[in-house]
Symmetry: C2
Subunit: 318 residues, 2 copies
Amino acid sequence: MERTVRDLGERKVIDGLARLLPSREDVAMGVGDDAAVVRAEGDTDLLLTTDPVVEGIHFLPGTPPELAGRKAVGRCLSDIAAMGGEPLWALIDLVAPSDTPMARVLGLYEGAAELARSAGLAIVGGDTSSGPALELHVFAVGRVPRGRALLRSGARPGERLYVTGRLGGSLAGRHLRFVPRLREGRWLRDGGWVGAMIDVSDGLATDVRHLLEQSGVGAVLDLNAVPVSPEARTASDGRSPVEHALFDGEDFELLFTVAEDRAAGFEAAWAAAFALECTAVGRTTDEPGVLRALDWQGRAAILEGDGYQHFLGEGSAS
Amino acid sequence: MERTVRDLGERKVIDGLARLLPSREDVAMGVGDDAAVVRAEGDTDLLLTTDPVVEGIHFLPGTPPELAGRKAVGRCLSDIAAMGGEPLWALIDLVAPSDTPMARVLGLYEGAAELARSAGLAIVGGDTSSGPALELHVFAVGRVPRGRALLRSGARPGERLYVTGRLGGSLAGRHLRFVPRLREGRWLRDGGWVGAMIDVSDGLATDVRHLLEQSGVGAVLDLNAVPVSPEARTASDGRSPVEHALFDGEDFELLFTVAEDRAAGFEAAWAAAFALECTAVGRTTDEPGVLRALDWQGRAAILEGDGYQHFLGEGSAS
């Protein structure tokens, strides 16, 4: 029987496609990080990223269009933040059924424009097409000084893992209203604090794994330390708050490593710079690709389970 | 009654959205040309463009996926060609129903990768989402020397209008197999031949109008001179070959102006450089926004009718 993308799941689909893609000498980082990194002239690397926001998947028919538009831009800005970059320019592709009220389309762009403006991101064009679902595809370009992008691959064993904010229960509303961590990402880059960084979009458990795989290290997560959001605590679906924090995704917080001997200095500097929480949630180890979790009794077990994957996760808005 | 995007049509939708968008000082050209132009470091301007390719609109369920993928990349390359640019990097957003065979998705990317490779365009990443229709959204970055992008706005009265190749009947197959005119676009830029340039994507009549509006000039098209494709001559739908050439769209040829006193030199240089046809089809005038057509008896009338617009053109694959 013919295999479908559902049979494979998003990760294997992407792995299968990535092998086909042509590169160039000026590509510093292609598929496999929060954004691609390409060498521009001068002392600049450009960050290129794109995110789809599809009605029925990333937002619902009842979602105010301003919030769906905000989310579309926010996802790209979160990718740029996770590279330690500054946003520059974006394009938007709109797909809409022909009976879409113009007021709804304007709402999408008003939400997108407002967040873009506040982040210094120009929206310089795009295109439109009719199609069966309402969708925005945002393509964004950011900038870092040459060689200074914060990659998923920079972690070494024995570093501390930190996460900003609180995790889980994003679907209750935060996935539409989150603030991309641009200031924090740039501050982390400028301070040279970070080994590796990623934004938490697929869920902490999954995004830690992405970081481990790219860095060739392992990790232990202390489940007692994971900062759980109020919405994750009050969810009444039979899953524990920490399960929500590990697996829900769409938190758009920053997850990063700091060398153990700089951890105290880092924590003091962070507290002086930001009101936002930043929590140590574990450490990297020398077991490549192995993710362990310390439970409430201090026992370390291999962490099972996974966050959201497109194609597999059909029907659930994420 | 609430107005829908169908009531307005693509052009008014885009005009309504463009007003909302935030800009930056380093944006040389935002909405309104084949690609946006932004100032990068060094002596470079970057070209940013995006094009959607949606099943049922830009290709059909029976279209070989390699050709649909090729078209998705080709549309962006044609935009870069029309600015006189060189392609650099691209991202691709994939939307696919979960029951899409993986072989079909691989076919899309194989077609996209092959054309990208031949044009020196790296595909450096992207994203995927489930959704109701199969779609590719390609975002591409190109380059020109600073200030050298060939804009739609550069025409003056009294220039000759040229078009490459032959027009009309693209739906018979050429819309899937066209060769983006990158070599020609760059040669035109390097030679300093061009006043204004655009690619013919919406139909000659419509794209001439875009050029006129941006340049603040008028034009007379000589309908006897319009180079008509063989497919447009053999179509048996009751429309004349020249109507196909004027209104079909998706030709992805270059339409540009050359100063009258350089026209002879230009034509000789073109003939020495390329086997591809390049045909004088009219001239610009000092009647801003007015497009006249010279018929077979040499009479000039205002040209009515329009090419393809999304939302209005529901249901017709273009």
